[in-house]
Point group: C2
Chain length 408, copies 2
């Protein structure tokens, strides 16, 4: 494929207009939106308004007059549309890790007598860490098995199966409908981590019969660094699920200051403390942009970008020892692509120095995310050309590219 | 006292210079900084820099180059100086409610064999709600007793005593040293909620032998709406305390992506998910301002403002049925003052309409906070004059002042 071929694809891109909603640094090809999405211009403006006018001018009255108190459910309702969920099934709160704790604990309560939390050994570490902490606290058992053995391990002891829909390293995508059905056949619930799915692949939680889900606001949703996370509880579970983190914002009447906890009967029961308004403001503006794009069109463009990257990297860089570590079939993956290379860390640093920003996952993965709202096929083509140049010239072989940073 | 007397006190105010650090709305006397502190100008600038330059320009590299990854401990270390704590004993993370859950659970682990969490019935409701949820999740018992019966209820069953240092309604301040000693005499730990203390009264956690504490970033610390909260673990407990919310940021090596959770041996073990960077940026700039003032001077000025408000309100408004609901002795209270009045809600709304912003706590409390960094004695004098006018004219008796808002 030539660069003109890539430009021809861009000429037919139904999402091309979204690029202008972002103000990316000149000369940068940003392939790390799967780790931290860049700010839409409206997110920066929304944050400034929340800080300077709402906080600075309206002060305490903003809880009412600027709708702060409703933000967790209001923004959740908007995210629902990206996930195949109903607005009253989604809320924004806390971090993904904290939300995973809440919902996994809630699932244990919904399946009394079952004490096993089942997951896979390759799951994102913080998910396993959090489940380990929950198991220790609540007297449950975390059972993490090899992904190939998951179906065998699903039995009547399992209260909840916890999986990350799109894998953070390989981008391998679980079949949500099939896994959910398999768990339900054994009477277990499923809790999906959608951190690498939301805003990337077209998720349809209710169509799959999903029970519970959590996800991240700062990757493809572009909500800002450490943005508040979201959680989903299927309508049929809303009345019965109990959060272990029963803070005032989940109380039926938070400002009645009753002595005993009386959970709100709806998704609000999954809120805990005072919401982080500034983070919510940036996230909300980003979501307001995201919902203007059809999730199916987002996934289709993202797959097209990934396909181009895989094909060109294979053909131009295979001779330098890069190996695809991501499923080749688009339906089996999300919107990031990993290639293994023995010098992956240094190669990624050399790319960053040339304006092509990806990241690295130990021990040897170069990881590149293809966020459809602001990337073009031409940029992907250019990124491969620069990767080829770095590999062909050995430009990665410098001390400053080998030196490890605190966060990799 | 005349207004000139109040102005004479202001002329000697060693903290007067801090007023210029804030840009309060013209004509407003803001007596609600105990609920939501206003933004220092530098907090708005810090937030803009974090969003526009760091997020927008430096993007993912900010975790390293702009120190995002260190922010929870860096900002915690700065807050430590306000609390009589060592820098490595304090971190910023999550909400106050979530932090209370973590540390109360941690305390149960530090006192194996003891299953009682002791608190008082008048404690801030979310604290009791969270402890109730923890007790249910972890198989412990929450015992909330009348404050007069706390010492009797302290026995060898108690793992941890959980108290709010300054009461959210009455501003009554517990004797931290005495209560801590009483708990220790029974082998129990104490967990202090400093939400209404930090940035207001001079707390000396280590001098009191305190074990654990949490607190709020958005009241006297002026960190912004829903700012991240802080937590304190005394050095002697750092090695042994375990967080139930064992997310990746508390792992000994968060980016090694090990399969099992291995807690960091220091205060970082109390972190869980990805930190909310935007909220942290505003909080950090506010703390950078706060630490320029001596905590003892802050408390002294705050007490002077409260004393003035109490004396003037008693003398000018007592005939309208307002009754002090706060300890009269400054050493027994924090920096807010509550007066009861049967029409308290409507009176507060009428005051707000006149630019005097306080708040209301059911069933009849008018609550006013006296944050020393930006308030003057003259403003306090003016606020009482306006309160007198509202009460004397019955200006509160209008339908729009009686209509309840969602958040009161």
């Amino acid at each position: 494929m030539t660069r003109d071929d890539a430009r021809a694809l861009d000429a037919q891109d139904p999402l091309a207009r979204f690029r202008d909603a972002f103000d990316l640094p000149p000369g940068m090809i940003y392939l790390d939106g799967n780790s931290l999405g860049p700010p839409p211009k409206t997110a920066l403006a929304g944050l400034r308004d929340a800080a300077e006018r709402q906080w600075g001018r309206d002060l305490i009255t903003s809880w009412n007059v600027n709708g702060w108190i409703d933000a967790p459910l209001r923004v959740g309702g908007k995210i629902a549309g990206l996930l195949g969920a109903r607005p009253h099934e989604v809320a924004v709160a806390d971090s993904t890790s904290v939300n995973l704790f809440k919902l996994a604990a809630g699932a244990l309560g919904l399946r009394p007598g079952r004490r096993v939390i089942l997951s896979e050994t390759g799951n994102f570490p913080t998910d396993l860490y959090v489940l380990e902490g929950l198991a220790r606290t609540a007297g449950a058992e975390l059972r993490a098995v090899h992904p190939d053995r998951l179906l065998d391990a699903l039995n009547e002891d399992v209260a909840v199966l916890v999986l990350t829909h799109v894998h953070y390293r390989t981008a391998r995508r679980w079949d949500m409908a099939a896994l959910t059905a398999a768990a339900h056949a054994k009477g277990a619930l499923v809790l999906w981590d959608l951190s690498h799915s939301a805003g990337a692949v077209a998720v349809d939680l209710n169509d799959c019969g999903a029970d519970l889900a959590v996800g991240c606001g700062y990757k493809y949703l572009n909500g800002g660094p450490g943005a508040p996370a979201f959680l989903f509880v299927a309508e049929r579970h809303l009345g019965a699920i109990r959060s272990p983190l029963s803070g005032w914002m989940g109380h039926a009447e938070p400002f009645a200051f009753e002595h005993g906890y009386r959970p709100s009967g709806d998704i609000r029961a999954q809120l805990c403390g005072t919401p982080g308004v500034l983070g919510l403001a940036a996230l909300e503006a980003s979501i307001d942009l995201q919902v203007q794009a059809d999730p199916a069109a987002i996934e289709a463009k993202g797959q097209s970008l990934c396909d181009l990257f895989i094909a060109e990297t294979d053909s131009r860089c295979g001779r330098f020892g890069v190996e695809l570590a991501t499923p080749r079939a688009a339906r089996e993956r999300g919107l990031h692509v990993s290639f293994a290379h023995p010098q992956g860390y240094a190669v990624v640093q050399a790319l960053i120095a040339r304006g092509v920003v990806g990241d690295y996952r130990s021990p040897d993965l170069m990881r590149f995310g293809f966020s459809p709202l602001y990337l073009s096929h031409a940029e992907v083509w250019d990124a491969v050309a620069i990767l080829e140049e770095v590999l062909a010239t050995g430009a990665w072989d410098r001390p400053e590219f080998r030196a490890r940073a605190a966060v990799t």
